[in-house]
Symmetry: C2
Subunit: 251 residues, 2 copies
Amino acid sequence: MQRLREALVLVFLAICSKAVNSMPFWWPSDTADAPGYCLSWRLAVEANNIRAWRTVPTQCSRHVEAYMIAGQYQRDLTLIVDTISTYVDTITLSDDGLDAWILDVDDTCISNLFYYRGKRYGCEPFDPLGFRAWALQGGCPAIPDVLRLFNKLVERGFKVFLVTGRDEETLGQATIQNLENQGFLGYQRLILRSGTYKGLSAITYKSEIRKQLVGEGYRIWGNVGDQWSDVQGDYAGNRTFKLPNPMYFIP
Amino acid sequence: MQRLREALVLVFLAICSKAVNSMPFWWPSDTADAPGYCLSWRLAVEANNIRAWRTVPTQCSRHVEAYMIAGQYQRDLTLIVDTISTYVDTITLSDDGLDAWILDVDDTCISNLFYYRGKRYGCEPFDPLGFRAWALQGGCPAIPDVLRLFNKLVERGFKVFLVTGRDEETLGQATIQNLENQGFLGYQRLILRSGTYKGLSAITYKSEIRKQLVGEGYRIWGNVGDQWSDVQGDYAGNRTFKLPNPMYFIP
């Protein structure tokens, strides 16, 4: 009896150990219904194969939640920012002050994760009024890896342009203060969407802004955003980087 | 004694069930050292953030192996091809015979997975002579999802161009026969790399080929490849699709 109990305890421990070792630690136990599909969906989104999607597929709600909050999103960000940082180190700046870098704002510099938690991480359709109310609070936290990149760029002498689709008139002041509160100090210009660009797609609007910067003589060494529409189009930059965002799509 | 044994068997089964349900079924048990990092690395590769890499990081050897052979690569392919197929259904073809589609060959139409198994799924650097010997055998199996797409495109009346960086002189005949053996019948043209394009990067060479096709009047509706260099550059196509390939990078 005692020997049997000991043997079974050993089997029990062996199984526990095996299970713990072979599980990705960020994996929630309740997405077993469709983990393969949701991994495929997220990869297809990040590789720009699936476009113009309106909501996260309902069956991927828990997958996206786990991805965003249980560590993998953070690890993905860190690896990309490390990659960017290595690229930055290879650049020799000239002394004409025209070496430029472009960063998107939402979910690039500052995070809307808390807002999207209330929208089931993108399973609910975009809510313009709800998002505006959130953004007006000016309480988006910095994304630490991107703040680290931002500071490095400023210190190295890049002119950093923050380019956002946020409406200048209604969200300008809140955005300026939010960025300042979160430590984004020393950028060259924050460019918000003015009346002229209302109704344009992000690709068209941001291409137009970059064209103007290039027209002013700036060399765009890098361009970082969480949307493909941040890094496609004209004058995209010498190198572009797409940060992960499985919560929403901006055309 | 009997009751204890029964109770322990129930506990055993409960644990097994829990472990099985919470593990992604394709996850190998021996990548627990760095699953998060390897997921990040693969995502960064597929989103074109990490470029010009020469080999798979050694610590990701088992991760990439598991990805390629245990089901997730296959699921990723199927979702992308389903997405492409939905896009194809939206296209109205004209009757001038100039509606074109471009497919890459290696690891798009036909698979080199068996070859790369011998190269530790990309952990060993590219071996031009070894790869040529493999390709000369003409034994690459079709990728079933892409063959399905190919047949749909041909049936719908698209002129399908297979564009590959393979050397025309040495690999032309073997490639033609390999494609035929695997059921790729009815394409418009197989374009291999002729002497004119030797030494050019894939982006430059493939852009040049597409420019010629557009010059002939073709409208490139879609362009599918496993490398970013297949789908970037000039005349890339109305929509481009990047199939997964974490085993090698072609600039």
